[in-house]
């Protein structure tokens, strides 16, 4: 009995922590929520106001004169960089998983998989520094001008100017590299564990190894692929340090093309905390907390959606089978 109680306490701590964090953010940022209103997510100006003037009271909240908080540019930057990362990472991750599952002999697979998974263990600041030193010079000198002249002719969002190299596409590339191992490792396990009988059936019908993989084994693992993609999406949404170092850290700016500097919600909280602390009314920090609240809610919705999709799909398949 005592044991059960203790287990209950231990198991209860984690959901409680989630609720406590969200509640804390909501309570702490309440004055900001009250002052900013729903326009918080559609305004694209973040302005601390005149920090040398005396605070004034607006709607019952003390603010510095001229203060205005809007995070549309952060939401746009976060969603676009995540989208680019997923567009790059899903095909590469699927390709890597197929390669690991199909083309690599068993004894080598363990080692190669090990190195793929080690990529997940690298601290994100290392990715950031590597992006800063290696990726940015390469992309800005070689790839971006090329992209602007080729894809840019067709899709205006890819047209120049190609800028400094700090920006949306760079952030997407670095993020993609960080989430490829998540997709590759998860999907590889699912592919290897697919029932051999399906693969045998396809091969016996005269399918090549690729046809068997592409039309039988991979579709069998599509639930895992979707789950892994959402896992990667969650990671990309919340990634802070690497993005901060390569995104150009734009303020109050909506990207006009794929090379433009951006900032994301997570990176912005870090980069603005110091200046926000200069606000004597404290409203700037509370507004940062409101960003954190928005980010948490988006992440929770993404994860919940992932689970919902899996559950609904699972039920659809089961009911069709009856």
């Amino acid at each position: 009995m005592k044991f059960k109680v203790w287990l209950g306490v231990v198991a209860g701590v984690l959901p409680a922590a989630l609720v406590a964090i969200v509640l804390f953010l909501a309570v702490y940022s309440w004055p900001a929520i009250h002052f900013n209103g729903p326009g918080f997510v559609v305004r694209d100006v973040w302005n601390l106001g005149n920090l040398y003037a005396n605070p004034v009271t607006v709607h019952g909240v003390q603010i510095q004169p001229g203060a205005s908080y809007g995070i549309l540019f952060l939401i746009v930057g976060t969603l676009l960089s995540t989208l680019i990362a997923l567009l790059l990472a899903v095909p590469v991750g699927v390709g890597a998983a197929i390669f690991l599952a199909e083309a690599v002999p068993d004894h080598l697979r363990m080692w190669i998989s090990f190195f793929v998974e080690l990529l997940m263990a690298i601290p994100s600041v290392v990715f950031g520094l590597w992006g800063y030193v290696v990726v940015i010079p390469f992309l800005s000198r070689h790839l971006f001008p090329f992209l602007a002249l080729t894809i840019g002719r067709v899709i205006p969002f890819f047209a120049g100017p190609t800028g400094s190299g700090y920006g949306l596409l760079t952030a997407g590339v670095v993020l993609a590299l960080m989430i490829v191992p998540i997709i590759a490792a998860t999907l590889r396990d699912a592919l290897v564990n697919q029932p051999a009988s399906m693969r045998e059936a396809a091969l016996a019908l005269g399918a090549t190894r690729f046809e068997a993989m592409w039309r039988v084994t991979l579709p069998g693992a599509r639930k895992t692929l979707i789950g892994a993609t959402f896992l990667a999406l969650g990671r990309a949404l919340g990634e802070t340090m690497a993005v901060l170092m390569v995104s150009g850290n734009a303020l109050n700016y909506l990207p006009r093309n794929v090379y433009d500097p951006i900032s994301t919600m997570a990176a912005f909280i870090v980069s603005q905390l110091d200046s926000a602390l200069q606000d004597p009314t404290g409203l700037a920090v509370r507004s940062l907390a409101e960003i954190a609240l928005v980010l948490s809610i988006i992440s929770i919705i993404v994860n919940a959606a992932a689970r919902l999709i899996l559950v609904v799909w699972g039920n659809v398949q089961r009911s069709m089978a009856v």
Partner: protein, 307 residues
Amino acid sequence: MPEPRRAEVSGAGGSAAGQHAAESGLDLKPSGRVHVPSSLEDGLPTGASVGNAFVDDPVFSCRDVSVFYGDKEAVRSVTLDIGQRQVLAAIGPSGCGKSTFLRCLNRMNDTIPGARVTGTITLDGQDVYDRRRDVAQLRARIGMVFQRPNPFPKSIYENVAYGPRIHKLTRSRADLDELVCTSLQRAGLWSEVKDRLNTLATGLSGGQQQRLCIARSLAVQPEVILMDEPCSALDPIATAHIEDLIDELRASLAIVIVTHSMQQAARVSERTAYFHMGRLIEIGDTDDVFTNPQHRLTEDYITGRFG
């Protein structure tokens, strides 16, 4: 006592001891006493079997075929022919190599790491193990049905259409519909599924799934179908369905069926091959093998003394 006809081909590994055993009197007619084989010693030189291993105008010709998994020899020096439009049953106790042998014929053993096949197998006179051969094309000419029904988790239609699609056998959707329909008809499944072609195949009963797998093979228009214990997971009624189906299919193609059930072998096949510990012991017309077995091991197996 008739002298058994031995296969002409003798394997390279034919040992002096084996030859000696063969000459010093095979106990071909059973003495009636209970004999439980305790060793590989079957009294035959390597590569030889009793009965008639050959037919005129064979689909498959196997000469001295051995299969190794690493160092282990799973099939040793098998020589036999498989005739056109004929059902050959492979029987024998578990682990006797009959399934392994079956999987050599369409090179499914290639997918097993460490598996190695020696000897020659020809399909219509062409070497199956030729290095230049396109294995996928080869397998398309040879259908295969497995022990457990293994339809893809797709619709019934898509299961049958899979082969024609990957081999681009049809030009139009109407042709494909036609091919799916005739394949299902040949497999005796059409009347049961024609109203629900777009439902998941995994929702069918086990016997229907197995007939779907046969339809899926037929859609690629193979010359031979290999069946690896196709009824071992099915109930008696589903088994009877499959056996009727085999009887109809023998008019148009050759079938090699591995089975644990001697009754099944007797019912469906024209020729029977008895395998024992990786070796082909006896092969001949099914009636002869079951009513007048020439080798002691065959006799012991079919009379139920072991197996």
